[in-house]
Structures are given as C-alpha cells and as structure tokens.
Symmetry: D2
Subunit: 334 residues, 4 copies
Amino acid sequence: MDRPTHGIGSGTTDFLGSAFRDVAHIGHIELLTPRFDQSLWFFSEILAMREVDRDGDSVYLRTWDDYERFTLKLTAHETSGIATVALRASSEEALQHRVAAIETAGRGIGWTDGGHGIGPTYRFTDPDGHPMEIYYETTWHVAPDEALPALKNQAERFPGRGVNARRLDHVNYLGADVEKNGRFVADVLGGRATELIRLDNGRIAAQWFHFTNKSYDLVYSEDWTGSTGRLHHVAFATDTREDILKAADIFLENGIFIESGPHKHAIQQTFFLYIYEPGGNRLEFCNAGARLILAPDWTTIEWTEAERRKGQAWGMKTIETFHTHGTPPVEGSE
Amino acid sequence: MDRPTHGIGSGTTDFLGSAFRDVAHIGHIELLTPRFDQSLWFFSEILAMREVDRDGDSVYLRTWDDYERFTLKLTAHETSGIATVALRASSEEALQHRVAAIETAGRGIGWTDGGHGIGPTYRFTDPDGHPMEIYYETTWHVAPDEALPALKNQAERFPGRGVNARRLDHVNYLGADVEKNGRFVADVLGGRATELIRLDNGRIAAQWFHFTNKSYDLVYSEDWTGSTGRLHHVAFATDTREDILKAADIFLENGIFIESGPHKHAIQQTFFLYIYEPGGNRLEFCNAGARLILAPDWTTIEWTEAERRKGQAWGMKTIETFHTHGTPPVEGSE
Amino acid sequence: MDRPTHGIGSGTTDFLGSAFRDVAHIGHIELLTPRFDQSLWFFSEILAMREVDRDGDSVYLRTWDDYERFTLKLTAHETSGIATVALRASSEEALQHRVAAIETAGRGIGWTDGGHGIGPTYRFTDPDGHPMEIYYETTWHVAPDEALPALKNQAERFPGRGVNARRLDHVNYLGADVEKNGRFVADVLGGRATELIRLDNGRIAAQWFHFTNKSYDLVYSEDWTGSTGRLHHVAFATDTREDILKAADIFLENGIFIESGPHKHAIQQTFFLYIYEPGGNRLEFCNAGARLILAPDWTTIEWTEAERRKGQAWGMKTIETFHTHGTPPVEGSE
Amino acid sequence: MDRPTHGIGSGTTDFLGSAFRDVAHIGHIELLTPRFDQSLWFFSEILAMREVDRDGDSVYLRTWDDYERFTLKLTAHETSGIATVALRASSEEALQHRVAAIETAGRGIGWTDGGHGIGPTYRFTDPDGHPMEIYYETTWHVAPDEALPALKNQAERFPGRGVNARRLDHVNYLGADVEKNGRFVADVLGGRATELIRLDNGRIAAQWFHFTNKSYDLVYSEDWTGSTGRLHHVAFATDTREDILKAADIFLENGIFIESGPHKHAIQQTFFLYIYEPGGNRLEFCNAGARLILAPDWTTIEWTEAERRKGQAWGMKTIETFHTHGTPPVEGSE
C-alpha cells in the first residue's frame, strides 16, 4: 500500500517495536520539591488532588479519576526534578517480557516490593539515567465514604475545586541524547514514536512516544545543558479547553507562575498551559480534544527546524524559557 | 490484589479475551437510506464530510480526521439500517488470528477484494446477523490540494462548516440476544466489556465493548421487537461539549429531528446528542472529555434496572423513543 | 419605518415606559429558607459566595463580581420564598421619580434607612404583593486582603471553588395576574417587555422585562395556584455554557436536586440549568452568550400557547414541575 | 458614600456626561479595503456575513443577529481604514439633543438622507477627524425566506459556517490626542470611560468608553505616528470563548494572518483574538463572559504604564505589532 508524501503519515520510518502494548500506561510518578509545603498546598488545594498516604519525606496524592491508589508521590528534596516514572505493564506476562528486555539492554537495577498499593516492581533507568519502574499488580482504588462518587463508573467524586486534575497525561523528559533515549523506549519498552523534530544537522531535538491510543505518553527533548536525568514537564489532562482557560484564572489569582499559554501546539495539536509549581517543576495542563492515534501502523510525523521556528499552531512564538528551564536547575543555564 | 466492592471496577467478571488488541478500531461503516439525496445532503453539508468516490448506488464519504480513505459508505436502499461495520486489524497476523477464530465460531462468509483503498477483507456476521468485515491493509489518505491542512499532522483541512464531524466513534447495534452477541465480540473478536445493564431477571439489556482505550467502540442493546440485524445508532466524536451545543443549533436551523440531549449519560458518562438523519437512522454526537480506559484489567461496571430507571447523569429521564426507534423500522413497533 | 411581520420585533405593542433606565439593575435580594444551615452551606460552599455580615436570623453573602457590598440576604424562616427584591436607581433624581410614580400608583410603603452598605431605601409592593425596594446610594465594595483580586478591575478574587457564582442575573416571580403586574413594572418602574407568552384565551402567561441591555431582569409567570407573592426562581449568570455543565456535575456530586437542564430555552434563548437549593427555592444558572438587547425600540416578541407546547429550543419538553413548584409551597399544589 | 481605594472603582474621576444613554449603540460601520474581492470573500465566507445590498464600490453585509438591515458597508478604496462609524440614538429626542451638542462643539457637518434602511442621518467628525454619523430611524430587518430562523426571537438563521459573526462589538480608533477625543465622546456624545491607561508623563494612552451595559463600545488608543483618523481595530462578539478557539483554527486553515491570541486582556478582561482581514484592517473576536457594567456610577479604572508592561492577564507579553500596525498604514511606521 502507498504511503502519502504529505499530510499525515509522512516522514521517517518508525521504530516498530514488537512489544507495543506491553506497557499499558504511565502509572504514577515521583516528583521532588525543595519547597515541600508550598508544593503540597499546590497539588492539594489548587489541583484538588487528595492525600492518601504519608511516608517519611513523601506524601502520596491521587487525582480523582485514577483507578489506582495514587498518582503522585511528592517528596521533599534539596532540589526539584523527577525521581521516578512508573509504568504499568499490560499483564504479568508483559511485565516479564519487558523486564527481560531491560536486562538484555543492560539497564536493569532489580526488583523491589512496591508498596502503597503497588505489587512487585522492577527498577531500571533509561540511557539518560532517569529512574524508572515497571509493575503489573496494583490495588484498585476504593473511594472512602467522604469521596464516594455519585456515579459508580468513576473512581472518586469530582472535587469541584481549583483545577480538578483528572489524570496524569504524559511526562516530558530532558535528555542529553534524544535519539539514544528514543531507541530505548521503542526497542526495549515498546513505545512508538508519533512525532519528532529533526534539526538541520540530522539530530532529533524532540520525540513523542505513545503506549496507548493517546498520541503521546512519554517525550524526550534535548537538554541544552548536556545534563542528564532532568525533567522538562509533567502534564495533566483536562476534559475541555475551557478547563484550561479557567485554570489560567485560578493560577493568576493564586500567584502561580504562568510560563506560556493557553495556546495550541502545532506538534500534536494539544491545547496547552504551562506553569511552574512552587517547587519549580514545570507542569502542563493539556487537552487533545478527540484526537487519538487509532492506526496500528502510524508513521512518525517529522518536523523540520524551519517548521519549529514558526511557533505554535496559531502563530505564538515559543517562549524562550521553554528552551532554558528544566528541573533540577543547572547552574548558569537559565 | 483486592477489587473494590463499590466505585469503579465493581461488578461482574469480564470476558477477558486473550485476543484484546487484535482489532485496532472500527474502520468504516455502510449505512442504508431510503432518502438518499437528503441523507447525502446531510452528511455532506451538515456534517461537512467530503465525498471521495461514487460506485453504483453508493457514495463514499470521509470525516476530515480519518487517516484512511473513507469513513462512511452511504447506499440508497429501500429501507434504512446498517449494512456493514468494518474492523481494522492491528496487523496482518492479528487479521489471520481473528479470521481463524471467526471460522471456528462458524460465522465466517469469506474473503473479498476490498476496494476503495481497502485490501483483502474477510466477511462475517455476528450472532445477530449484522454483516461485518475485518481487514488490515489500507491506503493512507493523501489530502488533495483543495483539502490540504495547515498542519501536517492532520489528515485533511478542518472544514469549518456545519458540525465538522471529526471521526467515527462507535456503533450501537440492536440485537435479539445481547449476551450471545457479547460473547461473540469478547471471545471471537477480542473486545472487552467496560459496562453493562443487567435486568432484574438476569438478562443483559445492553453491553459496551472496547477495542481501544476509548471506553467503548461497539455496543449491543436489546431489540424490543425481537428482530435481528438492526441499528440503534452510529456515533461521531466531537472535540468538545461546546461542539455538541453548537451542533444542536445547527440541527435546529436545518430541520433535523433532535431526539434527545444534549445531556450527559450516567453510563459511560458521555456527553451526547441524538438526532435522526433524513434517512431515519439515529446518529449520536458524543464527547467523552479526557475519559479513557487505560487499565489493562478493567472490570465490567454493572448497572441494575433500578439504576437505569434513574435516567441520565443530570436527572433527565431517558426519552421513550430511545426504546422504540431502531432502523430499519419494524412495522407497528414505533 | 416598517416593522417586520415575522422574525424579531414581531408581535404586540410594547409598554413603552418613559421611565426606561431609571432603574439601573436589581441590586440584591432577600431569600427565605426553612433549612438555614443547609442553605447557607449551599450558597457558601457550592456557589462560593462569601459572607460579609450577620444580623439576627440573616446572613449577607456576596458573589465575587458584585460591585456592591452584598448580593443575597439569606434569612431563616418557617417557609421558603423571596422576601425582597431591591432595585438600584440610576441616580438620585431617578430614585425620586420612581418613588413618586410608586406613590401615585398607591403601592408605596415608605422610607427606611437601608443599612449594610445601602443608603435610604423606599419600600413598596408590586400588585401581587411581592415586597420590593428601591435605592440609589450604595457603598462600593472594597475587597479585604484575603479576597483581593489579581486584576484591579474585578471586585474580588475569583474563588475557583464550586460553581463560582458571578452575579445575580434575574428574578422570576410567580403572580396571580401577570398582565397587571407587568403594567406596574412597565408603567411605574420603567421596565420594558422583551418577550411574552399569550395563551389562546388572551391571557399573558409569562412576561419578561428588562431594565438593562440584558434581555431580561424581572419576569412574571402565572401562578397556577392563584396565590400571590410567590417565587418561581432566582437566576445567577455564568460566563460560559461550560460553567453550567460543570455546575451540573457539582450539583450531582453534592446531592443537590437538578430539576431540568442543562438545555436551551426557546424563549430568550438562554442556556439554563434549574436546581432547588436545600431550602426548596428554585435557582437557575443561565448563560445568554453575546445576546443583548441593544435596540432602544425593541418590540415585544409574543409566543403562542402552541409554540410554548413545542418545549425548549432543542426539543426537550418542559418539565412538569416547572408548572407546579413555587416557593413558598402551597398545600396540595405539587 | 465612600469609594474604595483599591479594587474596582478606584482611580480618576469620570467624565459624567448627563447625556449618557442618548447613544443607544454603534449601529454600523464602513470599512475600506484595497483588496476588495478578498475582503468580501473573508466577510462573506469566513465570517458568514450575508450580503444585502450593493451600491457603487460598496457591498452591504449583515451579521446574523443584527436587528437592523446591515452591519458593515465594505468599500473598495486605494487604502485600508475605517470610513464611518454610525451611532444609533435612543430616540428622536436623543438624536436632536446630540446633534445640538455636536453643533455646539463645532464638529458638525450636516444631515444626509441615510438610505439602505437608515433614516435621516447627521454627519460629524470627532476631534481626530474620524467620520461619524448619528441617526435614530431604522428599518427593522425582515429575514428573507432563505434566512428565516427557527426561533422567532432571532433576526436571521444561524449560518453554521466559518466564524458565524454574531454582532459588531466595538470600534477601537487610533487618535493623535486620546484625551481630547475622549472629552468629545464623554461631553458631546455621552459616553462614559470605564478604563484607561495613564502614562507616567500623565498622558492618557488609551481610553475605553461605553454607551451600553457592555464595558466598552468605543475606544481610543494613541497613534504612535501622530497621524489622525486611523483605525486600530474593529471587534465582533462571540457567544463563547470556544467560538474564538474554533475561529483560530479556521483562520489558520484559510491563511488569515493571526496577530495575537487567543488570550485574555488584563484591561477589561476580554478574551481576544486579533487577525488582519485581507485588506489589512485588524479585526478582533472577543468574548466578555457575563461581564457587564450595571453600576450607573462606575468610576474609571486607571492603569499605569508599569501595569501595562506586565502584559496580558495570563502573562503573555503584548505583541509588538499591536503598537505599530494601524490602518491605513503610514509609510515607514511598521
């Protein structure tokens, strides 16, 4: 069958990992903050996430629509940044296959007990050194009486407060070598690249991977400092674009720094809003409308350096800090 | 691991088809209309679908976001109703597996050449006799110059006209025996039931299946007439709820019969609007917000007869015709 | 100049009060509730109104966008219902003119001191006996530190909580004789009728009046019980229709009875949602989009009984309780 | 009564014209374009305005919700720019009062016959030389059969096409001396200033006036070139913010230059999108939510140069061309 030379599906050959769908989705993350109390206030009061556990320097928080026990482990730390991204496998068998592939790739660390509702968990790192985990067993969340939803097909009641974060959407890492990290995601984790930016010198500047029918779940952007293990942003999905506009007002009233947006990305066409939570980590609030990647053989869309320069979908230039702010900060880079 | 006894995940044991993901998504459908010119006007002018082919009594139309060549084959016929639902397999291997399972189930008809951009296609019926097809090879759509999109990650330009149907969302069949049809979808096609209604007498009155991360793609509702092979409705997804409110105005101005909505379903929580296209077939325009089923082990939510009686999410009683109108019509039933 | 015989501007001759604009807008209302604590919880927690004063059995609450001190005086009482609707005059001179007209009409009661930020206030009743007030002097609201807005052209910070009631929109009275009440509003208060329903027997069943460029501020509907002085509903304006959809979810989660909607009225085309606050009073949340009556010579739109029977704009039948529930309740009428 | 020292109502003393409400609203405008065919395509096809008349080099177009015959007279010309802004008086008496005031101010030109549905019209100029008109008599629009609305309280059927411009919202002039022009609007036309920007040197850089309950209808911004009679932009109101987001997609697909937005202004809090129509004139699409100025004694909000520098409500810096592009263009100024 022919492939189009323009429109969707154009561009490079994809890394067609045979392992596609072994990772079901990103389960939860651990975020670090040097301003713990303020970050906890932000996630609890402004995003309306609910605390389900405390453990040492960490609080476990959940979005109202998460079917698992927790979404975010927030940990007091000397710096900001992302500590762990935990992937849920599609089955016990899929978990074993991915662990084997990770070990073959030489990136495995080993098994832990999990805990806080999570079963046996295998720890590893991507080539950039970001700590990651994969697990299958999980405790389905049972809403306590004070958070019982009106409709039984919902994990917890809708909070009706602040930004009402519904679910984690994606994680965008910074990485020293986007292509190398991308090959790991594709070949070892079974992710598929839906879109990428290729610089004139041939390097991949950013690459979007999906495990689900969402058009991306895990993203790598080139770290301009050459550092490793850093975070560009973590994103939460909203039901509507109006939710994002309302969120902007709420951030404004609460003194939360709005970096950019609301606007629409050309790449992936996501409606977005970027802010910094009090700990300094960049968060995105995003809405993709009805856009899903249903095609099982999607070919990666490739954007050029010139196309990237055009800015966002409706013409807004990409804000400078988008290319200078990451967490933890690197001295002299911002 | 424990499963909750209330909230999400409660209810019956699912039909866990090992074949999950062999069907990638519904590719296209064939709809019959006894008022061809008016139906064609409706799909072309009101839904802003674009004609890509004609063949005998049929016109092939596409939504702007479909990566394949066509979405809807509209065929002049003495009655209304649905002629074919065509499923796209995830791979050539998945196609062969599903065909083998269909043949084992004794529901196979045989291979055809496909055509209009579709490769080899296997025809079969569900237990209710609805004609279905499965295929893998497809021609990726190349937008003609007059429909080139501004953004290369989009199949065709956004029409900016009428309801701007983006993509087919799901098909809701009527069936004489919902449970029997459901077992076929689960065991043979690899669909998974996300929600169902169980009557007090134990019968399943309706059941929602998904092949994707959408919470449903194919639905069976009990046919009150005991007839087989009929259609309850076909649904198109919109990006926002506002799109549905705007659509209601457009239907009002164009004399299209609005049956019910806009409102929000309790089951599946979809924001909906039901209309009848000029040929009499019920269409839904639906928006699920950010709701996706990411869990690989979702347990079917079961609703009781009493719960169904409560009506829709915000309290609207389900309209009577929802239980009396199907296509083709059965004499004396409406 | 010609007037059209169909489309807008058709229908009856308006009561062109020369006093138009002497009443600037509805300033505040007093609502009665037999379930004070629950009603106070509803207005404070669910509508996010802020308490500014207490006095005897009453609490004074304000919406975040009210430029005056308070919007709602909520009073514990043995029944539900509306106690007072207070109109703000456009100037001191306008106040004197309206008071003179009210006295001429024989409906005056006399002056009071006002209080709680309101200056000298003249009390009167409409022909139905609803207690009303008119005043000009008012204290502009100064936001306390904890409610300071980020933008100085806003009365108070956006609460970002629950339904975030922005401002009072309109009051819809029940009245034994709609036409008689309407003549009082038109001739004595200077309101203008923008739309009305005329029954086949010639009686006016409902009539919408405006003092502002909004298409209605004060409405009379015929009381089916023949009682006087009752309330059909009080309405709050939202910025968007999405706010109303979100409100419906919040009411659902909080056990607030949703009577009807969200849907769009044919008359006035308002997007609406009706609920009962815990005290039993019906409240509306409404959005008119960009619809304003800018014409200084608008001719009343007249709807027939047959047109009313068609139901709401998108075809929903008007719910039965809309014609049986008013406050305070009349024994045996619901 | 006290006036607050912060929050709304702060700032300078208003020009309290006793003539407030003599001007009912802006009735229609004449826009000039050096690319007539393309501009006509834009207003007809993209904004879905309907042509009602042709006369010499001009086409008369109407938005679907205008109660008068036409909204926009589009005229082929050697340059872009605004030719006339026509104000509708509130009554015949109000018209005579304003004409007398204009003549006293020495800015009158004289009466014309009107035409195209408009009765006797008095022509004049503001101090900047912008041609203006005022009239009272007008022909109420009667929808032709092909544009009959489904609901009789609507001027014409909703087009359901492109941006569906509903109504003219405001005109923003450029002026050499904002304060002088403002005094004319306030003292002679009866407008009231709701907000203004005062530079550190004391000069007013921009000033917003209203005749209606909308928070502005006519605006003056300082012309950086010192020229007179130029246009900054003309704005159309949309029902929702979603309409503006959808409009941005439609402009993108149709090659219309998007200058800035969608975003929210700090001043007046309007949600906005700025584009250039093919003739070069800047247009705004705006939504104010439920924001209305109901207070009859609103005190002008005054913004400082430092506050203006902060940019728009959600932090976006004001785009440079906003201070360099006006029509007609002045050589060397952009």
